[in-house]
């Protein structure tokens, strides 16, 4: 089958927040790009249906999928174990929370669940039999600035190997392959008065693969204050680059991909992210799931000093799908 193109409707978040687009409009926008998959954060678009979706809601969802020729690609879930201010959820409550999310996924036809790295390892172990029973695949998102070699991700890879489960893997976010510093995310600090020379030097050092603590030390020597350091933190929390070859070792555990987009240029190329080699490695490894566009650049225009207007989410997603189609050949 090969890798398929999808869109996470998270990408239209500003349009939806301001109610310029409806839930249905978001799905229509996906189909208009030629993408076939829809990724959903239930708590963005349908929180009141999340715990116990009504038959009407489920029917309407499937009608939309048929009408627009799209398929459910992945459901993004959050284990809110800090639900209460005076305790964490118990192990049993956490597993029940997940099971409820999985019921929702099954009803809407999502094959893949995206979970976050903060989920405790014993809970991941506990949900494996439920995933196998439901026939669902669960992936932990690996997102900048998390390291693939840290104890969290290695613990997850080890759990998958130890249990031999086919129902658990990971979901790399393309922010893991920001070859150049996403200068877009420094805009807010520059507008607040950060020194452009220091901020650009920080970005250059990122591009040169200088470790963050050295970049930090140099910035301080240049006279960096809180604004410049905040800009630096924003760059390093939104971007990572450890080359692309490391992915080969773990490619068999990839169950879904978040096609992160910070900024698309006029030639329909993401400005900072090294898409081409990563897509090639996934193809060579035989990955045949979804790459879903996850446009996040709109946030960089949300500071009051930017003023009105900002991103054209629909256009950014359209351009990214052009890039993916070029890379995937379909």
């Amino acid at each position: 089958m090969g890798i398929q193109r999808g869109v996470s409707i998270y990408s239209y978040q500003e349009n939806y927040y301001l109610r310029k687009m409806s839930f249905e409009d978001c799905i229509r926008a996906v189909s208009e790009t030629g993408a076939k998959g829809v990724e959903l954060i239930a708590e963005m678009h349908c929180p009141k249906e999340y715990r116990d979706p009504s038959p009407d809601f489920v029917a309407r969802w499937h009608d939309w999928m048929a009408k627009y020729g799209t398929k459910p690609a992945a459901l993004d879930v959050f284990l809110d174990y800090k639900l209460y201010d005076n305790r964490m959820l118990t192990e049993r409550e956490m597993v029940a929370f997940f099971k409820n999310n999985f019921d929702f996924a099954k009803k809407l036809g999502f094959p893949v669940i995206r979970g976050m790295i903060a989920v405790p390892l014993p809970i991941l172990r506990d949900i494996i039999p439920i995933l196998e029973d439901y026939g669902l695949t669960y992936g932990t998102e690996l997102h900048a600035p998390i390291s693939p070699w840290g104890s969290k991700m290695q613990g997850i890879f080890e759990l998958i190997d130890r249990t031999g489960t086919k129902n658990m893997g990971f979901i790399p976010d393309m922010s893991m392959w920001c070859k150049t510093a996403p200068r877009l995310v420094t805009g807010e600090y520059l507008r607040k008065g950060a020194d452009p020379e220091i901020v650009e030097r920080i970005c250059q050092r990122y591009d040169e693969r200088v470790p963050q603590d050295e970049v930090n030390a140099e910035a301080l020597r240049m006279g960096a204050g809180p604004l410049e350091l905040a800009a630096m933190h924003n760059v390093f929390s939104h971007a990572r680059y450890d080359g692309t070859e490391w992915l080969r070792e773990y490619a068999d555990k990839v169950v879904h991909v978040h096609g992160k987009v910070y900024e698309m240029d006029e030639n329909c190329e993401e400005k900072y992210i090294d898409y081409e080699p990563v897509v090639r490695i996934l193809q060579e490894a035989g990955f045949d799931g979804w790459i879903c566009t996850e446009y996040e650049g709109q946030r960089s225009y949300h500071d009051p000093l930017y003023g009105p207007g900002g991103a054209d989410e629909v256009e950014q997603v359209r351009r990214h799908q052009v890039q993916l189609k070029r890379l995937l050949g379909a």
Binding site: Y10, Q13, E14, Y16, Y17, L18, R19, I41, E43, M44, H45, P47, K48, R51, F78, L79, D80, Y81, K82, L83, Y84, D85, M116, I117, A118, E188, R299, S300, H302, D303, P304, Y306, P308
Partner: protein
């Protein structure tokens, strides 16, 4: 970041009155600074400041589609949501409202919102302000 410039709505700001016409306080409308609907129990604090005067959080009433609640009540409500993009009406109970007598035409409203999310050690917080004209 995260909808900061959109949080405080332009409409729905002004003094509130009871059925006898007595000033009961003031209100404004607030949208969330997050990319999903928030369970009410995860809201830690909302601080409201008008022209430098901060009002106690226990004098706030928070209204969403489901109903009107105090911040303390919301701590017990994990299954009710402040919807993504939903303008919640925040009412401050104060017998002087936005102030009696001659008030400037425009007021500087500052809001600090803090909430708890499992994957963040420090918690999510947003501070936003807008210069607004009361329209109520």
């Amino acid at each position: 970041m995260l909808f900061e410039k959109y949080m405080i709505c332009e409409d729905g700001f002004g003094n509130t009155y009871d059925e006898n016409g007595w000033l009961t306080g003031f209100q404004f409308k607030l949208r969330i600074s997050y990319y999903r609907a928030l369970r009410l129990s995860m809201i830690e604090d909302i601080q409201v400041t008008v022209d430098g005067k901060t009002f106690p959080s226990d004098k706030l009433l928070f209204t969403v589609e489901e109903g009107t609640f105090t911040l303390a009540q919301m701590k017990t409500m994990p299954d009710l949501y402040w919807d993504f993009g939903e303008p919640a009406v925040i009412r401050v109970v104060d017998p002087d409202g936005l102030g009696r007598g001659n008030n400037p035409e425009y007021r500087r409203l500052r809001v600090y919102l803090k909430f708890r999310v499992s994957y963040s050690f420090t918690g999510f917080s947003a501070a936003t302000e807008k210069v607004l004209k009361p329209t109520l």
